[in-house]
Symmetry: C2
Subunit: 416 residues, 2 copies
């Protein structure tokens, strides 16, 4: 058996299982989710033992400590996973929502109704908690899921999926609605990308390289997620106290996430006052500033190159530049932003309106930290990722974004 045929077999099983999941009631799905949470609680020893194998293998292989940390499961993190599954059980079911409805002039009743995609494949890196999160969100939205985690987390993922599948089966749904993709080489990702007709949507979550390769090679429709070169622009009309707080929060609140700020733009009219203040504040938090000439004149600031404007650091680094006006700020954002989240700080309504209208990003923020672009912060209750593409879903994706729609047209013998 090749990896390709193994993956296709799994996808076929997922498709068959998806048929009954698509028509399962909310009560049946919630029961399965709660059973999954309970089973993970009871099965935590097996999961932690499997995780210890992954961690030991990573440490033996010289994996950097921060990556090992993302891989490591603890009782706290397992509690987070079970709480996540219970939260999803508490959310409304998007399936069956009538998005629009009307009665046409001829009496035909038209309803656009949310329905599951069918089979969703997730390709993700490192953190094994994604395994439970994705399984829960997909199950609630009526989708069978094929989970392809990273090889470094293979024992953890296998143990988690084993526990979840048993729970799903006990609850009366078919266990094949949650499957780990066989094989953890790149061949299995390739097989998923070619499984058009079996897999409805492929969602990559991880580094820019993984996402680019999936977007370019997949013939299965893709939802692109998560690369964030996010900007904060401090306008001439900014309240500089708010600006300082927002820049520091956006950069330092959590550096390894896609909605962290990576680049700071400052209007020339406030540069004299603001540049020294913000550099001092960032330095106090341990941030390295990669600045243009104006910023570079401050002690400790490193001179930036074009590579810095393009960089998603995901670390205690930020690029910084003084711009002559709002037009220049907009041009810079247009040139370098990854179209994830970009913020303006200003009290000037006209400047805010222009920034909102002309910045073409999933989220545009006014007087707020880029860190707010997040499913939980937006009140979605669960998030499968943050889409940075324009088709289907843009920004944080909750349960409704994991569905498509169908038109239901009801008549009484209507013909044209």
């Amino acid at each position: 058996m090749t990896v390709e045929s193994d993956v296709r077999d799994a996808a076929e099983r997922a498709r068959t299982a998806s048929l009954s999941l698509a028509v399962a009631t909310r009560a049946q799905k919630d029961e399965a989710l709660l059973a999954m949470a309970d089973a993970l609680d009871r099965g935590r020893d097996a999961v932690l033992t499997a995780n210890a194998e992954d961690v030991a293998r990573a440490e033996d292989g010289g994996t950097p400590a921060n990556i090992v940390d993302r891989l490591r499961l603890t009782d706290d993190r397992l509690d987070g996973m079970t709480a996540g599954l219970r939260d999803v059980a508490g959310l409304p079911d998007p399936v069956g929502d009538v998005v629009r409805g009307s009665t046409l002039a001829n009496g035909l009743e038209l309803r656009q109704v949310r329905v599951p995609f069918g089979v969703v494949a997730m390709v993700y890196e490192a953190r094994p908690n994604v395994t439970a999160d994705a399984a829960g969100i997909c199950l609630k939205s009526g989708n069978a899921v094929l989970l392809r985690g990273s090889s470094s987390a293979r024992s953890s993922n296998a143990a988690i999926v084993d526990v979840l599948r048993t729970a799903v089966g006990t609850s009366g749904l078919h266990p094949d609605v949650v499957q780990l993709v066989p094989g953890d080489s790149h061949e299995s990702v390739k097989a998923l990308m070619r499984a058009r007709g079996l897999v409805d949507v492929l969602i990559p979550r991880g580094g820019a390289g993984l996402i680019r390769s999936v977007v370019e090679e997949s013939s299965v429709p893709v939802i692109e997620t998560g690369v964030g070169n996010c900007h904060v622009y401090v306008d001439r009309g900014a309240d500089l106290d708010k600006a300082l707080a927002i820049v520091v929060n956006a950069k330092t609140h959590r550096t390894s996430v896609c909605n962290a700020a990576e680049s700071l733009l400052v209007h020339a009219d406030v540069a004299d006052v603001f540049v020294p203040r913000v550099v001092d504040a960032l330095h106090a938090e341990g941030v390295t500033v990669h600045g243009d000439e104006t910023f570079g004149a401050r002690p400790g600031v490193v001179l930036a190159t074009d590579d810095d404007w393009a960089e998603e650091y995901l670390s205690l680094d930020i690029s910084a530049r003084v711009v002559p006006d709002l037009d220049a700020a907009l041009a810079h954002v247009r040139r370098w932003s990854s179209q994830h989240s970009d913020a303006i700080v200003t009290e000037d309504l006209a400047a805010a309106r222009r920034f909102v209208a002309e910045v073409d990003s999933a989220a545009v923020l006014v007087n707020a930290s880029t860190r707010f672009t997040d499913g939980a912060e937006f009140g979605f209750g669960a998030e499968i990722g943050i889409s940075t593409q324009k088709l289907h879903a843009r920004g944080p994706m909750g349960l409704p974004e994991m569905t498509t729609t169908k038109y239901v047209v009801t008549g009484d013998g209507h013909v044209r």
Copy 2:
């Protein structure tokens, strides 16, 4: 200059022009649309002369009469194009629609707002009226459009786009919001498929071969349209008069369109009565029936093979089969449908509900002809095509489907 660099240049110009179009008011866009309609009215001699060249070339090349007919423009068809542009001017502007909005617990104001994609590329075959329709719909939805028609319509398309661009420029918008893609070889389609980052969405409209190649090769996100292997299932609980009218209408009202019925399924319990009636009625309309053994026992019916179940005839042909029960009908539809439009005829509510729930198609119709799956019939006012994919848009696509959204988050110095 290669075709690739010509296409990329056009796409760059489209992107630049799209920036001002994205923030144009509805009044500006409607003025441009009315100017386009007026200019097409005034310029009809030039367009008809150019079209006569295309028609002569097609006839000289031995193109079949029905294809030449699709290519031919007449005063009536030009009137249809100008009326279409004026209709689009009268439709609400989707840009700026607030899809959802709330104030979060921390006081942040969250708005999900419709915005244009940016640059849309259309690849289509034959009918030159699509050129004006697509230009109008894209302009109204705030998108610059790259039009890549077929080489057979090259003179017509060039003349139409020339007239439209002049009108757009006169109205004050940039003419580069409407462009014909340079080059009519397959190289230009390939260049569009590779123009990721310049082209936001690629919409193929045409035969199954064109659509399949675009879906498989494009790294630009694609909205798949229009292949329709549509089914009518006549249930045991059907009113057979309604069933007869629906089958005949769905098959014969217009045969060359994607929402025409291509396959008929009849429940065994009504086969004795219904098969003879429907065969006679279809024969009376000149339809060739490709049937299973039961249908094949009727004079004039051709025996069907598996190829017939898969076939989108687009002609006066229909495949027909007796099924033992609703389960078998659902299994047949699942196996062969192109997931465009499938209909059940029944008075039995439970059968209707199951068919609606278990058929995974863009439109599922109860006691109505498949011919109703259409933007105009659904009351959308304008239609760019019918999506048969699950991402972003499914079914007839009107103006809102030609937009994406952005989240606008407004605070007062909010940090996490």
